[in-house]
């Protein structure tokens, strides 16, 4: 087999979005009947790579890509996903793409139904032919059998357990006669452990029948047990392409996140870290795409606590839930008092503030001047910067005080603007972020949630934002809970880093803990191994 031409080979694939390189010289190949595990953090380039492979229009729209894709030794150019499907590549996405009111059979045969022609076809075309349900059912059963599982061909998708849906989806892909390669993006993410096991078994079963598989997963132990070879992507580069034999979960975890940045424990001098100030107990938050299921966590007074984890695992849901922006439940206690959930005003009044990851949507009044933006929440919640007339009947903005306030923060955070009356939407991303921070600072909170503070801003501004958080914490003793996708950033500023996985806390680590430990937690591995960090 090693001498054969591989089924698929990617050669020197590179791609940049408007000068921002996301893939550089990615090459690897997939042999016939081989399973390749593709691993990488969010933003490592996996999704972009698969989009290129599938000829998604977004790639061509953003200037195409470099390098070449060879299928069976022939160079191929896919103009649309349908070309890729015709060439025998099937894709199973992370989200189910099934029709809920259709049966297993109807979904497997979706838009490839067997048909019987009749007189109406001659006049109105093929779409008037009647479906041949017997043949459809037969084909569906064949595909299910090929998977090696038991599925009821007549069950409606809406009544199925999640595992069955996943299998239906895979059965649909292998129902094509010519399917040679299957790409599975996080197929086990929604499955229980026993279901995942059965899935892995049937994937192996498929590979034995000669179908090649690219298996993308964050569950590293699945990758090590299933894959024949493992490709690790980091920052758009292939950092490792190795046979799976003898590779441990820990190895992959460190390849995945490993950067050679020095992380050290934060400087504690002159800071007073006290007792628990905020305690989460069984917190759940229904934030679409960032669902929090069961978070138990306590935050100490005066510390900077980092919350990290992969996208979609629920880290963003935590601050959004506490601050009442998404439906939430469970219990949150702040300074010993219960925090009423689903009530943004009460949360703010208790002395918590939130810098949202959605800067332009939640964070700013884009069409208003900077001083209003900075003073807005303080005016609403604390009644600051207002002047009372007629014994409090009429309250008007105190423009003078607002101006002073904004001048103060513009200098403190070195915000680049023409003045306090410039409109917020005219600023750059980094300066907008600083306005958001200033707005939260103006509330003089006891506890500050900061969500993705450096997303989408340039390197210099990043450092300034982090610096100002650090100083604010040191000078005022404000407790800060910082949520970020960038592990390095968390490790550089936080006293402790909690990692969220599948909607709950997988573990808490000190910033100087071994990088592979972070990787293991993020991948949902070795939850038990996670040592409780002592602050």
């Amino acid at each position: 087999m090693p001498n054969d031409t591989p089924l698929l080979s990617l050669e020197g694939i590179s791609k940049d979005f408007y000068g921002n390189s996301v893939l550089a010289d990615v090459s690897f190949s997939v042999g016939k009947g081989q399973i390749v595990g593709l691993v990488g953090e969010n933003g490592a380039g996996k999704t972009t790579l698969m989009r290129i492979l599938f000829g998604m229009p977004v790639i061509a729209e953003t200037g195409g890509f470099g390098g070449s894709i060879k299928l069976d030794g022939q160079e191929v150019f896919f103009k649309s996903p349908f070309d890729a499907l015709d060439a025998g590549i099937g894709m199973v996405h992370q989200e189910f793409s099934l029709i809920p009111g259709f049966s297993t059979t109807e979904n497997i045969a979706l838009n490839r139904e067997a048909m019987k022609a009749n007189f109406a076809c001659d006049i109105f075309g093929d779409r008037m032919s009647v479906l041949d349900r017997v043949t459809m059912r037969g084909r569906a059963e064949k595909a299910i059998k090929r998977l090696g599982v038991k599925l009821d061909p007549d069950m409606l998708v809406s009544e199925m357990p999640v595992g069955h849906k996943q299998f239906t989806e895979i059965a649909r892909e292998i129902n094509r006669e010519n399917v040679k390669l299957l790409v599975l993006d996080e197929p086990t993410a929604v499955l229980t452990e026993s279901e995942a096991e059965i899935l892995l078994k049937s994937l192996r079963h498929l590979a034995d029948q000669g179908i090649s598989i690219i298996f993308i997963s964050h569950r590293l132990h699945e990758v090590t047990t299933l894959a024949d070879s493992i490709v690790v992507l980091r920052d758009g580069l292939v950092v490792k392409d190795t046979p799976a034999k003898g590779v441990s979960v820990r190895d992959i975890a460190s390849w995945m996140v490993g950067r050679s940045v020095e992380a050290k424990r934060t400087d504690r001098s002159g800071r007073d870290i006290g007792d628990e100030i905020l305690v989460f107990d069984k917190l759940w938050v229904d934030m679409p795409g960032e669902t929090v299921k069961d978070v138990n966590l306590s935050v100490r007074k005066g510390e900077i606590l980092g919350i990290g984890g992969l996208a979609g695992q629920g880290k963003l849901g935590i601050p959004n839930g506490v601050m009442g922006l998404y439906p939430a439940g469970g219990s949150v206690r702040f300074k010993g008092k219960d925090v009423p959930l689903n009530d943004p005003r009460r949360a703010l009044e208790l002395g918590m503030a939130f810098v949202s990851e959605d800067r332009r949507g939640v964070g700013l009044l884009l069409d208003e001047p900077l001083d209003w933006n900075i003073g807005f929440t303080a005016m609403q919640i604390r009644g600051d910067y207002l002047r009372s007339y007629l014994g409090g009947l009429v309250k008007l903005r105190d423009e003078e005080a607002l101006k002073k306030l904004s001048q103060e923060y513009i200098e403190l955070l070195s915000i680049k603007c023409t003045g306090a009356k410039q409109r917020a939407k005219e600023l750059s991303g980094g300066n907008q972020q600083k306005i958001c921070l200033a707005k939260a600072f103006a509330l003089k909170p006891t506890l500050l949630f900061v969500s993705e503070p450096t997303r989408g801003i340039d390197v210099g501004a990043k450092e300034l934002v982090l610096q100002s958080l650090r100083h604010y914490n040191r000078d005022f003793g404000t407790t800060i809970v910082m949520v970020s996708s960038e592990l390095e950033e968390l490790r550089s500023i936080c006293d402790r880093v909690a990692i969220v996985d599948e909607g709950s806390i997988a573990g808490i680590l000190l910033p100087d803990a071994d990088i592979s430990d972070f990787g293991l937690l993020m991948a949902g591995e070795a939850r038990k191994e996670a040592a409780d960090a002592k602050a």
Partner: protein, 380 residues
Amino acid sequence: MIKKTSIRRFFADNVVVIIFLVLTAAATPVSGLSAGYIVQEILTRIGRNSFLVFSLILPVMAGMGLNFGMVLGAMAGEIGLIFAVDWNIIGVPGLIFANLVGLPIAIFLGWLCGEVLNRARGREMVTGFILGFFMDGIYQFVVLYLMGSVIPMRSAAITLSRGYGIRNTLNLDSVRQSLDDLLMVKLFGINLPIATYLIIILLCVFIIWFRKTKLGQDMRAIGQDQIVSNASGIPVARTRVIAIIISTILAMVGQIIFLQNMGNMATYNAHRQTGFFAVAAILVGGASVTKATIPNVFIGVVLLHLMYIVMPRAGAQLFGSAQIGEYFRDAFSYGAIALALVLHAWRKMRGVEIDRAGLRQGVASAAPLEAIEPIKEDTL
């Protein structure tokens, strides 16, 4: 426990039907109308109205909601009838002629309506409603100004005395009840328009057959998830346009059947309420914005019209004024539409709430799923 919730569920799903059943059951004895009269009226109205109501089924199946845009089809049918009367084609041939004239107009208007609705996804119902008002203006322009001036009209009897434009009321004597009388059977003193019924049955068969075709399957898929359907290569926009075109054509035929039974036509008003009555009927029959079946049509037509028949008389008996009964029946029909729309939104919200319930008790509550049994190797 389970029984109790299933009863409550049945009630919640059919509350509109139940309210109408109770109302008409209470009003019928009060009205003092004879059973024979009521049965005759209902049977006539089934023949008159159900075809129009059927035109709503396909767009619901394609996920486009209740097609208020069917009014466009009704206008096409009326234009067909104007020409049939003008050319003095009598009886069933006149109806066929009206259909032939109306067909290209209905196809064009249906295509237009479909294209517009494709640009207003998620707001099909209100867009269709307003589109109906807009087209009403165009219709008035064509019928009131162009007919007789630009479009040659032969009969002076139907044009306004100023020489162009069509009279307010169009006498349809030439085609009056020609379809109903084609095969009228008298049974126990009750007249049954068998030919009309046959056409309606034919339409039912067509709808049942259509559901089984590839196009019907595609419409069902699109109705449930446009994104998934698109990803699997189903031409979503085109299929939605086809659904609206078929609906518009059916509405055209339905309006012609309706008007031949009535025997005359209010040239500028006949179509105004068509969409409203059809939508009220199908909702009263238990349909929703996302689901409509053949029984819904018949139940709805029977219930709604039973109310229309008995309410004015019941009002006259109770309050000495038929007017009050008429107020009631209008209020209840509008109420039925509003209630059905609110219920639809409420059910959607309840669905989200049920999904969220899984989160409330934390991870442990994630419902245990039945394990999938692997098949042994040797069985393959």
